[in-house]
Structure formats: C-alpha cells, structure tokens
C-alpha cells in the first residue's frame, strides 16, 4: 500500500508540472503586439548585465546595445537599428515599443504612441533539453495532440488538433466532430525550425507561402517521447501545457481527406459587418433554398449558428457551432441535420473581399457566422 502511495505521489508531481520546475533564464520572448488585435511578435530580448540583445524568429541575433542599468518603467534603450521604449516593466513581463519601427508601432498625430499598441514580452525559464537535433527527432517520432488555439465561438463541436512533424514542415490537422460524427478535417502546412536562445528552446513556425504573417513562438520546455511540455506565446499570460502523443480513437487523416485552410494573416480577423459587409453575394434566401433542398428534418425548433473564418482566398475554416432553442437556451439538433448544414455551407464560394481597407486594422480574413432559424424541423430563415 505504501509503495502504491509513493508511486502515486511521484505520478502526481510529474503530472502537475509548473514553472517552479524550471530555472530562470535571461530571455524575454515576444508574444503579441496591439492588445486587442493580438498580432504575433516573435522576437526575443536577452538582458545581460551590460547589454541588451534582440533576436528574430529564426533565432538570429539581429541587434544589440549597451545597458547601463536594469531597465525600469519608461526607459528607452538604443541598439544599432532599434530603439526600445519600455512603457511597463515588471519581473514577469515587459511592454515595449520600437521607436524606430513606425510600421508596427504607429505614432498618431497629436497623441504619439497608443498604449495598446505595445509589444508584450514574457520572461522565460530555461528549457531542459537544448539539443536541437534530439528535440527535432522527438517531435518527428510521432504525431502530437496540440491544444486547438484557433477557435471561433464554439460549444458543440469537439475539436482536436494533430501536429505531424516532417523534416522541414509540420502538418496541422484539425478534426471537427459532432456527436461522434466527423464533420470536417482542416489541414495547415507550416514551415518550422527549432531555435535556441540562451538555453531557451523554441519552436518557430511560419506559414509556408506567406512572408508577412508572423506566428507566435512556442517554447519547448521539456520533451521526451511521451510528452512535450510547452509554453505557447500567442495568448495573454502564457502557461505551461503538456502535449501528449495523438492517440484519439478514430482514423487519422490523410492529406486527401483534409481541406486546406489557413488564415492569410493570423493577427486579427475582421468581423462580417466591417467595411462593405462580408455577407454572401446572393443573400440569405438563396442559401436557405440551397441548404433546405435535400436537408434531413431537424428534430424541433431553434437556431443553429455555424461560425467560420473566410480567408483571403475565400476558403472556409476554423469552424465553431452554437445551438439554441427558441428561448435562447442551449440545445442540440440531430447529427444528420447538423452534418448536412455543415457540408452545404462549406460549398459556398461567393464571398466578397475579406481584405481590410483600414490602416489601423490590418486584417485579411474575416470571422463570420450563419444563424439558421429552424421551425418544425425546417430551415425557415437566416441571419445575418
């Protein structure tokens, strides 16, 4: 009995990994800039006793400058080609502006910098495994069940993400299920590299065909064949997460099963009502007629709200599903009806341009939704 308890204790200690398990590093990893747009900022800063060093997402040192004292609020530090103004400094995170980068950090007439445009850097801990080659081999050894961080509003779909690392690229499959039925598999191909900055091992990913679409860095804090301990820097207050091998009990996707989708710009996505409206060219009745034509009956009344992104190529992805009854309380429709709606909406191609026309809001893709009203088992209306 004592032995079992001892084993259980060790197991629980291992399962509840926390930042306490890691030693502090001198690296601050860039997370995002512009608080309410969350545009990835995959640069890193290293502070030594007398120097500040700037690294890009390839892990290359791109600039440096002297540091006369530890930085504090409102300090400005000059490097050869960058001038960092730190608007907020605490031991765990920094808010900074590059005063020499007027594209990313705009100055507004009469107002100067906008506080919310700052880039946020988070302090890191040392990774436990810094052998890039060994780390890469572990990543490639099997596929991994990553958390799906690319969500739109969703209550009713089960969404799983599988990352398969090849030599140069990682294939990201996103599985969408509803009531044990696979509705859709999305595929995104990313180029990747493992980089190391002063003992901090990072997974740096890029969309393969897009140059100006930064993606957040992911720290690989510890890796072995059974798990990856990561910290994803695309969110506010990143925390450690344990990634397990992908072992869900259904058939893994092949490239032929999946629908290619990635955002053209992963920072902010516009909303359907921005600009000239990103709603279907032919109007709602057309969609209702198309989808109703051979739809199986729905079991009852209410609303089915299908969320998705429309990218700059007019492709759909990042699905989400909410359903409610006529009193606006949660309910679920039968799976064959939901699958039919899903399949038909996926066929819609005639969307307006999704590109932003506003300098201050540089999106290329739009988050949209279709809310179907269902009465007596039939689709009777649609909004917006």
């Amino acid at each position: 009995m004592k032995k079992s308890i001892y084993i259980l204790f060790l197991f629980l200690c291992a399962a509840c990994q926390s930042d306490v398990d890691y030693l502090d590093s001198d690296v601050f990893v860039g997370s995002y800039r512009v608080y309410d747009q969350r545009i990835a900022f995959p640069f890193s800063l290293v502070f030594t006793e007398d120097e500040i060093l700037l690294y890009n997402q390839d892990g290359m040192e791109i600039d440096q400058g002297p540091l006369l004292s530890p930085i504090k609020n409102m300090d400005t530090v000059s490097m050869s080609n960058h001038e960092y103004f730190f608007s907020y400094v605490n031991p765990e995170r920094l808010f900074a502006f590059d005063l020499m980068d007027s594209l990313r950090f705009k100055k507004f007439e009469n107002r100067g910098l906008s506080a919310k445009d700052a880039a946020v850097f988070y302090k890191t801990q040392l990774s436990k495994n810094n052998d890039k080659s060994a780390v890469k081999n572990i990543l490639k050894s099997q596929s991994w069940h990553f958390p799906n961080v690319e969500t739109n509003p969703n209550d009713d779909l089960v969404i799983d993400q599988e990352w398969r690392f090849l030599e140069q690229e990682v294939l990201v499959y996103t599985y969408y299920h509803y009531e044990n039925q696979m509705l859709h598999i999305g595929l995104k191909k990313l180029a990747y590299q493992i980089i190391d900055i002063n003992g901090v091992t990072l997974l740096s990913v890029r969309n393969k065909d897009k140059v100006r679409n930064p993606l957040p860095l992911i720290q690989l804090m510890d890796v072995d064949k059974n798990k990856l301990v990561i910290k994803y820097f695309g969110v506010r207050n990143p925390t450690t997460q344990i990634i397990k091998p992908f072992t869900l009990p259904y058939k893994k996707a092949s490239r032929n099963d999946a629908f290619a989708f990635s955002n053209c710009f992963d920072g902010y996505q516009g909303e359907y009502y921005y600009g000239d409206d990103v709603t279907y060219f032919q109007g709602n009745q057309y969609i209702v007629d198309q989808i109703s034509a051979d739809a199986p009956p729905a079991d009852g009344n209410g609303y089915l709200i299908l969320h998705f992104n429309i990218n700059c190529k007019k492709e759909l992805g990042r699905f989400g599903l909410l359903q409610m009854n006529q009193s606006f309380k949660a309910r679920k429709f039968n799976a064959d009806f939901v699958a039919h709606v899903f399949k038909e909406v996926r066929k819609i191609k005639e969307w307006p341009s999704t590109l932003s026309t506003e300098d201050f809001l540089p999106y290329k893709d739009v988050h949209a939704f279709l809310m179907f009203k269902i009465e007596d088992g039939k689709i009777t209306d649609l909004c917006p």
């Binding site: 309410d36 209550d155 506010r236 409206d277 109007g283 969320h307 606006f328 009203k373 917006p384």
Partner: protein
C-alpha cells in the same frame, strides 16, 4: 480507511500542483468601504477603458465584465455588453445578458432595453411574435402608440413582423398608424419611404394591387433608384399581364444592382432585399 486514503491523496495533489501566486499588480479594493460616488466613478473607469478596445475583443469584454461587477444595476453597460456577443455571433450569451438588462430596466419602469430587444428579435432572430410582444408591451407601458426602437419607429418594426408572419392586414394597419402618428408630429409622411415600401409589399401580397401600386409609386417618387421598389413593382405589372413594362423595370433593377444601389444595412439583411438571382429569374 478509504476517507483517510482520499484525504491523503487530496493533500499530496495539492502539494504537487501548488504554483506560486500570481504577482498582484492592483491592490484589492473593498467595495463595501467605497461611497456610491466612488463606485460609480470606478464603474465609469472600467466602462471607458472597455470602449478604448475594439468592441469584439477579449479586452473589451474583460473591462465591461469589470464595469458590471462594480455597477451591476447600470442598464446601459449591460445592454452595450450584449452587443459584443451579438456582433460576435455568441447569441446564447447575448440574449442572456440582454434579457437580464430588460428585466432590470423594467424594474425601474423603463422600456429602453426592451426597445433594443424588440429590434434584435425582429432583425437578428427573426422572432416576429417576440418582437410584436415586446412592442405591444412598450406601447402599453409608455401609453403611446408611437415609440422609437433603436432608431426606427417601433410600429414600423411591428408592421414588418406582421408582414413576415403573413398577416398582411395587421401589417398595413400597423404601418398606417405610424404614418398617422408621424403626421401628428408634423413630419411629411411621404418621406417614410421604407414604410411605404412595406405597405406596398403587404398590399401586393394581399392581392390589393391598386393600393400596392400607389405605395410603390410614392417610394419611387421619393427615390427613383430604389431597386427593390422597381423590382417588386415590375413583379406586380407582370402579375397583371403587363410583361413588356415589367421587363423594363427588371432591367432597370438589374442595372441599379450593378451600381450597388440597393437596401443596405451593416448588420442585417432587410426583408425583401434584392439580389441579382432574383432579377435574373424574372428576366
């Protein structure tokens, strides 16, 4: 023994999962020790900060959440908070918040939140009976036949709701009341082209072609490039057997659509809004 064992497991789990506390950046404040003016001021501060961020952003929601924790009875904060969820398509949350705003507002004897809900039920949720119910309540509580719901006469919305329910007599009766009331207020009712448009549509659907034509013409006298009025007038002529005249109108509507001249609302699609396939089907 099982209880002792479970207690022990719980204990070691807590030890294993213990993480250092988050660094506190803002000192805790006890609302109970604050005056009403201080609480209002704090609520305003959170609300203003929320408005600094894009409305459909996590930051906006977080600060609006905080404003409502500080000032739960502020109906305006609560109503505006529902916009975030409505615009993002999170309608369960949007309606839960809006219904609560209406409930609290009604307790104060106000119908402002209910007016916004009527607009939402009609245009967003296509809940025509719900919209009529709210507008009837608004009329009852205010004692007036003429009220405004989110920038439009409530009666105009009620008329459209009856129209969508295919109760064309109630629709025309309701829309005519709006015109009567606006005339009393000194407005030139010929300017109410949307009301005339839906009057025309209701008469048309009810088979009263003469009155339908009269109201289509009122609309077109006001705006001779109103695509929808042109198209549906064409349909009326076609139904009366005047195919050549109808075709001319369909062609004009098609041209106007190409020039992007049509009913256009940023958040919703208007009832009987015109699209290319509808015109092509008639041609």
């Amino acid at each position: 023994m099982p209880i002792r064992f479970l207690t022990f497991i719980l204990f070691i789990t807590l030890i294993a999962c213990n993480k250092p506390a988050e660094i506190s950046e803002v000192p805790e404040r006890d609302f109970a020790e604050m005056s009403q003016a201080e609480i209002d001021s704090l609520g305003d501060w959170y609300n203003n900060v929320s408005n600094y961020f894009l409305q459909v952003s996590e930051n906006h929601r977080r600060y609006k959440d905080s404003a409502l924790i500080v000032a739960p009875d502020n109906i305006e904060y609560r109503q505006v908070y529902s916009y975030f969820y409505k615009k993002a398509g999170e309608h369960l949350k949007a309606m839960k918040i809006l219904n609560e705003a209406v409930r609290r507002d009604s307790l104060n004897g106000s119908v402002e939140a209910m007016k916004y809900r009527a607009w939402s039920l009609l245009y967003y949720y296509r809940d025509y009976k719900g919209a009529i119910r709210d507008i009837n309540n608004i009329e009852k509580l205010t004692g007036f036949r003429y009220n405004t719901c989110w920038g439009e006469p409530c009666g105009f919305q009620k008329g459209q709701a009856y129209y969508q329910l295919e109760d064309y007599e109630k629709a025309t009766e309701t829309l005519l009341i709006v015109n009567e009331e606006e005339a009393k207020l000194g407005f030139d009712t010929k300017d109410n082209f949307y009301i005339h448009f839906y009057l025309a549509r209701a008469y048309h659907k009810n088979g009263d072609f003469e009155k339908a034509m009269k109201h289509y013409n009122i609309v077109l006298n006001f705006d001779d490039e109103f695509s929808e009025a042109i198209f549906y007038k064409g349909l009326l002529l076609k139904e009366k057997g005047q195919k050549a005249a109808a075709k001319l109108l369909f062609e004009k509507a098609r041209q106007l659509l190409k020039e992007d001249k049509k009913m256009d609302e940023p958040y919703i699609e208007r009832f009987d809004e015109l699209f290319e396939w509808m015109v092509e089907r008639e041609l």
